[in-house]
Each structure stands twice: as C-alpha cells, then as structure tokens.
C-alpha cells in the first residue's frame, strides 16, 4: 500500500516537473496542479502507515489527524490559486492570442544586440523594460 503511494507521489512530481518545463502556458498550469496533488499525497503519507481508524469516539489507535488537516488546507489553497492562474492564462491568451511563454527581458535584449551588432547601436528596449502603463 505504502509503496503504491510512494510511486504515485514520484510519478506526480515527475510529470508535474516535466510539464512545468514546457513553454505552453496550459501545460505549466496542469504541471503545477499535478505537483500540488503530489505534495498533498506526501502530506498524507507523513501521518504514518495507512489502515488505522479515523479520529472519532474514544478508543484508539487512530490515524494521525494533523496531516489530514494540513492536506485539506493545502488543497483549498491550491484550488484558489489554480483558479487565479487559469484566469491569468486566459487573460494572457485574450491579449496575445498565443499560449507560449515569452523570453525574459534580458534574453530579448541580448538577442536584439546580436541582431543589430553591425550597426553599432543596441535596440530601444525601454518600452519593454519600463513601467506597467503601456497598452
């Protein structure tokens, strides 16, 4: 039983990490979801061996209730944040019509510098680097 759980956690973390490294936003969102599930299973396993009764009544031995409470809290947080992330990904798609994650500012600056090297002038990247008020 516990070996199955360990394997499940390993698969979830592995698949989550793989998806997180992709360039498509939708895959990143799913990857983060899988990582969250893996973490919740890991919390559950931290409570010890499976099979004990849940905490109810007076005669023990009981399963450790704390990891269950922690996992429950973590699930709620993951749920809320995933909803926000999906909204953000949708907004990004509405604005750019593409699901790809773009290069970061420095990478684009270096690429632009290489492209314009012969002309002895680096690119005007200021609108990219500047404040958040551009359309």
């Amino acid at each position: 039983m516990i070996v199955v759980m360990v394997l499940a956690v390993a698969v979830l973390y592995g698949a989550g990490a793989y998806l997180l490294l992709q360039r498509n936003l939708s895959r990143i969102v799913i990857g983060l979801g899988l990582l969250g599930h893996g973490a919740n299973l890991l919390l559950l396993m931290a409570g010890g061996r499976a099979g004990a009764a849940p905490l109810a009544g007076t005669d023990g031995p009981f399963a450790d209730p704390l990891p269950q409470a922690l996992a429950l809290t973590a699930i709620v947080i993951t749920f809320g944040v995933s909803a926000f992330l999906l909204a953000l990904a949708y907004r990004s798609w509405v604005l750019t019509r593409s699901d790809e994650v773009e290069d970061d500012v420095e990478d684009r600056r270096i690429a632009a510098m290489i492209a314009t090297r012969g002309e002895g002038q680096d690119s005007d990247d200021e609108n990219d680097a500047g404040g958040g008020d551009s359309p």
Binding site: L32, A39, M45, L66, P67, T73, D104, V105, G132
Partner: protein, 497 residues
Amino acid sequence: MSPLLILPIALPLGTAAVTIGLVRWPRVRRTLGVAALTGTIVSCVVLLVQVSDGSVLVGHVGSVVAPIGITLVADAFSAILLTISAIMLLAVFVYAVGSPKTDETRAFFHSVYLILAAGVSASFLTGDLFNLFVAFEVTLTASYVLITYGGSRLQIRHGMTYVVISLLASTLFITAVGLVYAATGTVNMADLATRLADIDPGLRSALGVLFLVVFGIKAAIFPLFFWLPDSYPVAASPVTAIFAGLLTKVGVYAIIRTHTLLFGEGGPSTLLLAVAGLTMVTGVLGAITQNDVKRILSFHIISQIGYMIFGLGLYTLAGLAAAVFYIVHHIIVKTTLFLVGGLIEERTGTAALRRLGGLLHTSPLLAALFLLPALSLAGIPPLSGFVAKLALIEAGFSIGANLTVGVAIVVSALTLFSMTKIWSGVFWGAAELPPPNPEGLDGASLRFPRLMVVPTGFLVLLSIAFVVAAAPLYELGEVAAASLIDPDGYIAAVMGP
C-alpha cells in the same frame, strides 16, 4: 492571550472583509484602510515596547497549547519587523491614494492591499511552519492580484513568471513541511528546535537546504533571484515599492528564523557566506547594466539581500544585530527609492534613463528626495546605510570572514556607481529621446499630487531619524540578535514549563 498578537493580523484582515462590500464608496474604503493601518502601527509599537527587554510574548489560539494548537509568537526580532512594515504599509497606502496611475479607486485595491498587510504580519507572528506556509500564501495571493492589477499585456506576461515561480516555491514549501512532519511528528517551530536535534544529521541538513531553497526563492538570493527584476518593475509604483520593501524581507525573515532556531550549526556558515557574496555581486552587476530606473532599483534589492544573509552567515551576536539593523534600514530606504521612482514616472511618463534628463533644475525637491536615500543605500556617511554596513563589516572582520567583507566593500562602491548612473541620467544633462510627457522635463510649474510627496518626504525624514537614533536602535537589534542566537528563551516561552 494578548490581543496585541492578534491585532496586527485581524485589523487589516477584518477591514479588508468590510471594504470588499463597499464597492461604491472608495472614500469610505480609503478612510477605513488608513484607520486600520494606523491601528496596526499602534498595536505593533505597543508590542515592540513590551518585548524590547528580550522577553517573548506567546499566544495559543483557542487556548489549545503548543505543540498541538496554533501558536503566535512575538520576540524582539518579529516585533521590530512588524513595526517597520506597518509604518511602510501606511505610508505606501497614502501614496497609492495620491497616485493617479495606481487606479486605486477601482474595486478591491484597498481590500487586496489590506490582505497583503495581514499576510505580512501573520508571517512575522506565526510560531509554526505550516501557518508560516498559510501566511505566505495569503501574502502571495494578494501580491498576484496586485502585480497584475492593471491587466495590461506587460503586467500579465511578467506577472505570470512571478506567479509560476511563487507557486513552485509554495509546492516545495509544503513538500518540506510534509517531510519535516514525517521525520519529527511536529510542525511547531519551538518543538522542532528540540526534536530536530535527535534525527539523523544528514536528513537534518537536507531538510535545512530544502527550506533554504524555498525561502531563497522568496528572498531572491543567488542563484534563485532571476524572477525578481522581470516582475517587480511592471506593477504600479506603490505596489512595486511595497513589494520591494516587504516581500523579499519576509523571505529573509523566514531564512533567519529557521536557520537560527532549527537548522543552524551554532557557528559561521560557509554556505551562507558564499551565497551572500555571490548575491551581492550578481545583484549589483545586474544593476550596472540596466538603463531603467525601476530595473536598476530592482537589481539592487537582490544585491542588498546579500548583506542581510552575510550577517546571518556570520552567526555572531554582532553579525545578527547588524543584519537586523540592515533589514530595517533597507526596508525604509528601498521603499523610498521606489516611491521617488514613481514620482519621476508620474511626472514624465517613463522611467527609462535615455528619455530623462535635467530634472534637477525643474524639480529640485525630487532630486533631494532621491539623493538622500540613494547615498544611504550606497553607504555614504553619515546616512543609515553607512551605520548598517559598518556594523556588518566590523562583525565580519571580528571572525575573520575577510573575503566576504572585501566583496561587501567593493559592492558598496559599485552601488554608488549605479546610483550616480541614475543621478546623471535623470537629474543632470538632457534627454536623448523625448519622454511621453515632454512638459514633465521643463515645466517647472507642474505640481505633484500632495499625497504622493508627503509620504515620500516622511520616509526620507524617517531614514534620517533612523541615523539620529542609531545607538538605541542598534541596542534593540542586539536584544533581537541575543534571542535569535540563544533560542532557549523562545522555546521555553512557547512550550511552557
């Protein structure tokens, strides 16, 4: 349990709940927000006075005692950070109200800002690892909303980086909490401090490194800083200012707390000293190559985090006291610089150095507001940065960490260089390219909104007052450092007799 432990969390959070309902009354929301943050400051100051003798105030929520219940703990270190962050939160709130570009009259800005305030307070007050995770999530979720508040393409693109990196860090955090619980059977930090000593040293250091990575991402230490300079500058100016002042410092707080209480080896840490040196160097080199005010300042956050980790890495009373002193200095000065950056942007419509110039003649007030914190950041005597860096460097020499001390001194000089770059780009000379509002460069009659200038000026005065009162404040830092380096009082206070 003392209401002082609850108020810094409950006041902003309760007010946030009330203001969500007041969609149509932005003025009422503003007033309530200012009242709540003022109340938070008062309760934090009272708390600071109570624990300034080195005592530890503990509260058990619902009277369920540690290690089972939810524990709130305030020692001198957390009370100092609570107080200074409450002051920053109020000053930046007023600035946001005055700043036309922040768009704060739109629904939910005030509520989300207050939730951020509650999350920051909760991070400083919590006594167990899992609630630290929850407090981080509250802070981060509010920050996700604030960083993408304008909803522009740029904000979404860079905000996405921030959200994904933070979520990855949170997942690692919850993993680390699960592993700690599996190894020891508790998540209460005071309880852990005694139980971690019994487990296998290899496992203990693995857990320590995992937590260092988690908090290192939040604090933006080398090599985990790459997300910060991309995401911070795109937010509205007051949002960037409060992020720069507080959010990375919450990460630094968590590193210091877990290192001193749980994973410290009781001596100088080569790993932390190396990380500190590399963080300082990469941050400042990044700043030198930038040509945008907000991006230069963002890279400086990273470089300054290195100094705080340096103080922790020394692990002496003087080193930790200097680190505490440095954190407070940094929070004030960095927030002020970003607020000044926001004023520059407000006037000219840009923060790009090539589009700015000659503001010294048209707006000498702005130049003065920039110059004092900029020189302080670089460590010019007699400003607060000088006192803080001197304390760190003395502490470094006293245990022979000469290499890192040398790096710290060189980085100070480079910091001064990049500050002069902003100075000569923005305040001297002429603009190479016209800014979006050209009249901002020569129209001396242009006036700033008063609510933007007053908080900025107040923070500049606060940083000067900080130097004047440096001796008693440093003693307070020593009280905090003493309880960090010898956590027996903390453990005894939480676990009870």
